[in-house]
Symmetry: C2
Subunit: 179 residues, 2 copies
DNA sequence: ACCTGAACACCGTTCAAGT
DNA sequence: ACCTGAACACCGTTCAAGT
């Protein structure tokens, strides 16, 4: 709140004429960020391409705002119009792609869970898996870390691609018809 | 720090004789929590069963400590012995199951991202997806939410099962041999 | 309607002083 | 070696007083 007030060149207490709490501000920020998530491929491209485009932009938006993740993950969607608009487009995309009604929310939540977790990875230090002085007592892990270093991709991106492909394949098999 | 000091019946400043910062305390807590994650099925059960057991216990441990997730997701693993021990067992399990060396870390990170995101869902309010007054402007989403309500499972569990199955199937296809 | 400034109850952390 | 208590620079929030 102090930082926001400074940005607006106003006393912190002045903010409380416009919002009733910090939580309130976070809800407004969340709703704005959701409007930045790209849902334009739903209806315009095959389901798996649309999910991929949506998931990447969703992850990238929140990778730049990780402190919001704990808030959003638990924040009711009520009265957040942009957020609801995103869910509406995605839900329709899943239904049109042949998903059974009763699995759509679970499928979206599963993807979102993966997306939020992956957003953190983007901000993690490159050497997060450095075993340090304990390298010789963890030979398998150390070898795996060394083996992964060869890739051109950032570690977070390699994991995101792998997981997203798996989720799209696995969830896609729930569909009744192709689309 | 204040709460911890109270629990120990000591002044907050006394803690700094034992740790050098709050971050330090969090690392110790993280390491302890990691020792609670069940890796016992690796080597004792088929790979997919072992992953399922590990993922469920991992999610459940952190669902009860969600404030730690932003910290852990970004905390270097160096000098966290229990954490390294967990990664060592899991890495060996993946290698023995036929995973190519250079994909093991990515596969584990993808699973962890999903697990951390899913841990938040457990703590979310039941009505997090209630569209409220905007129900009629979001018909597809509202129908999907209503359609999901029929399940006996908690919403977080239904999504976790769905996503975990998809990840296990998709990642499992990277293996060179069955095990 | 919207602002300021003082105040309150909290944070994490430092440091001089004790035992 | 480990503690206390005062102090510091911060939080989010309330509220009386202003315009």
């Amino acid at each position: 709140m102090a930082a926001l007030a400074k940005l607006l060149e106003v006393a912190p207490s002045a903010l409380y004429n416009h919002v009733s709490s910090k939580q309130d501000v976070l809800l407004l920020v969340e709703d704005h960020l959701m409007s930045l998530v790209d849902v334009s491929s739903f209806g315009a491209a095959p389901w798996d391409d649309a999910v991929r485009t949506w998931a990447w932009s969703y992850r990238n938006v929140f990778a730049e705002h990780t402190p919001l993740i704990p808030v959003i993950a638990v924040l009711p969607v009520t009265d957040a119009p942009q957020t609801l608009a995103m869910y509406e487009t995605v839900s329709k995309g899943f239904l049109d792609a042949g998903f059974p009604q009763e699995r759509i929310i679970s499928a979206i939540v599963a993807l979102e869970s993966f997306i939020f977790g992956s957003a953190y990875d983007v901000t993690a230090p490159e050497d997060i898996f450095d075993p340090g002085t304990m390298a010789e007592s963890t030979p398998y892990f150390t070898a795996a870390v060394r083996g992964a270093a060869g890739t051109a991709l950032r570690a977070a991106d390699a994991a995101f691609i792998l997981g997203l492909d798996a989720l799209i394949d696995g969830l896609g098999s729930l569909r009744r018809e192709a689309d």
